[in-house]
């Protein structure tokens, strides 16, 4: 997901007997669906895990601007350009609220940015794939925002108040993005030329598997899930959400006339779900490790933006200081 494979620093979930009185009271509140607020007592690992999860999510929004912005100056109509600008602006806005939510846990945005730029913090693997044609922009809206919604709708109910409230705001916009992405593809696939349809199929072929990887490793290898689920900062298992995504997306692809790039995909009457082929997990692990098609470019772009912008940030800060110093002198003179 936007936060994949978040470490919890715990090896196993504590039993009630193993918990301190404070931990037990905390767990009782979580179990009773009472929101935890920033000022409330919380286990140190809960705090750390949430900082990791929220900041990974924020970083994903920020890095996620890049693949789509790659097509901003080449959008095929003025309306599509406006829609894409508005979408990317929303994503940056999501990054901003999420950094604010993380800041309530006692970490600064600058520290988090530092962690992103040094490669210490992760962001979603999906943004390390290139956008090669205009159809990629619609496909990202449809699949990537679609997968994000799948994960973030349940997170609206997560135990941490500021995160859950951020998710409520974010989800509204994400579903709008998904519809707009799908709408762009409908136009191309249903009303477009053969070349446009081929462009859409090619984009779908390239984004399908990486989208399924967004949900993280299979449950049997997902070592940190149990604790996150007990804390209600993860509400569904990776495989459960992935299945839901496949079930939702296959009919949408069929409507567009796109072929699913998976020879093993078939409807399983008994399960009431689609069966699908084995995901190449080595690809996910390699992208997460930093060896995806665009990891280096994405980080280099963010570093360049940050480094080249240092004089700008310093200039604004220096001016604000001068201004407040002048105010003080005026006050003292009066």
């Amino acid at each position: 997901m936007y936060a994949q494979m978040v470490k919890t620093d715990t090896t196993s979930v504590k039993t009630r007997e193993e918990m301190s009185a404070e931990e037990r009271a905390f767990q009782d509140r979580v179990d009773a669906d009472i929101k935890i607020e920033a000022k409330d007592w919380m286990p140190e690992n809960y705090r750390k895990t949430l900082i990791r999860q929220i900041s990974q999510h924020a970083h994903s929004e920020i890095v996620g601007q890049l693949p789509e912005a790659n097509w901003l100056t080449r959008a095929p109509t003025l309306e599509r350009k406006a829609i894409l600008l508005a979408k990317i602006q929303d994503e940056a806005g999501h990054g901003l609220y999420l950094y604010c939510a993380a800041e309530t846990l006692g970490v600064s945005r600058d520290e988090l940015t530092e962690q992103l730029l040094t490669g210490k913090a992760k962001y979603s693997s999906i943004f390390n794939y290139p956008t090669l044609t205009w159809a990629d922009v619609g496909t990202i809206g449809w699949l990537v925002d679609g997968a994000a919604i799948m994960n973030q709708v349940p997170l609206q109910r997560c135990s941490f108040g500021p995160y859950s409230r951020a998710m409520i705001r974010v989800c509204k916009e994400e579903s709008f993005h998904q519809r707009q992405g799908y709408d762009a593809l409908m136009k191309m696939c249903l009303k477009g030329t053969a070349a446009q349809k081929a462009m859409c199929q090619d984009a779908f072929n390239r984004w399908w598997w990486p989208s399924l990887m967004m949900f993280g490793p299979p449950d049997k290898e997902s070592v940190h899930s149990a604790q996150s689920m007990a804390w209600k900062i993860k509400l569904n298992s990776n495989d459960e959400l992935r299945q839901k995504f496949v079930d939702q997306t296959v009919p949408q692809a069929e409507y567009l006339g796109l072929e699913i790039p998976d020879p093993n995909l078939s409807w399983n009457e008994e399960r009431g779900h689609y069966d699908f082929g084995e995901i190449d997990w080595s690809e996910l692990f390699s992208v997460v490790r930093g060896d995806g098609p665009c990891n280096r470019e994405r980080l280099a772009a963010r570093r360049k933006a940050w480094d080249d912008g240092a004089w700008f940030r310093e200039g604004l800060m220096a001016h604000a200081e001068k201004k407040s110093a002048r105010k003080d002198t005026q006050k003292n003179a009066a």
Partner: protein
């Protein structure tokens, strides 16, 4: 009405300037110095695309050949573009981009206010709507120029360098040609002499507050309004128009 109508060229100038400037600042999205600026610059680009569409749709209506904003934006070559040279200048560093916006807004906002009194109701309606957005841009870029000019030594020097580079492109916006004159007489557009006065006042006040020095040179570039552009516009359009050119029968 037809392309002989001076209002056709006039609305192209406005529409093309908005679209070209939006195209330029879109290059910053995802690469700005701070997250708030990524958001701010995308927001301004969005406003300019919206205004550009309105002006170009009106231009198409005046021309009467069935061209809409997209046809005009995507299917004219550089020589048919009427944007001001200032808008097509490369971004430079972020300071140069902000300075370009500031110099543009200082002209565009008073012009829009004048146009909102136009005797052509279509022009007046677009101008009134655009002026609301432009006044926010105007305030934002004025503040940024003051803060960066009167910030650190480095930010001051960068803003001064930006001003020096862009200064020769400001004259064209303020100097009336035949089209400006005709439309002013007809009551469709305001007198540029009045706009120039407002521009001068605002720019000199802002530069003083920003501790920046107004360049002394009177040399001014011109030609954009007549379709004679710098070398930069061809590349900008090649990128912008790529899909429409490469897939002529496609629908998007």
């Amino acid at each position: 009405m037809s392309s002989e109508d001076p209002l056709f060229d006039y609305t192209l100038r406005l529409g093309d300037s908005c679209i070209v400037l939006a195209q330029r600042i879109s290059e910053w999205v995802g690469h700005a110095p701070i997250l708030e600026e990524d958001i701010g610059i995308a927001n301004i680009a969005l406003d300019l695309v919206g205004q550009g569409r309105l002006w170009l749709d009106l231009a198409g209506e005046i021309e009467g050949q069935g061209r809409d904003a997209d046809a005009l934006a995507y299917h004219r070559d550089a020589g048919a573009y009427r944007n001001h040279l200032l808008t097509e200048q490369p971004n430079g560093d972020f300071g140069q981009t902000i300075m370009r916006q500031f110099l543009f807004d200082a002209w565009y906002l008073p012009l829009l206010k004048g146009l909102s009194q136009s005797n052509d109701s279509r022009v007046a309606a677009i101008a009134e709507k655009a002026a609301k957005e432009a006044s926010y841009h105007h305030a934002r870029h004025t503040d940024l120029v003051i803060s960066l000019g009167d910030g650190t030594e480095e930010s001051h020097d960068r803003m001064q360098a930006a001003l020096d580079v862009l200064w020769p492109y400001t004259g064209e916006m303020l100097t009336a040609d035949k089209i400006d004159g005709t439309l002013c007489e007809a009551g469709t557009a305001p007198d540029l002499a009045g706009i120039e006065q407002v521009w001068n006042d605002h720019v000199s006040k802002t530069l003083t507050a920003a501790t920046l020095t107004q360049p002394e040179s009177n040399f001014m570039q011109s030609g954009g309004k007549a379709g004679r552009h710098s070398e930069h516009l061809g590349f900008l359009l090649a990128e912008m128009q790529f899909l429409q050119r490469a897939y002529p029968d496609a629908v998007w």
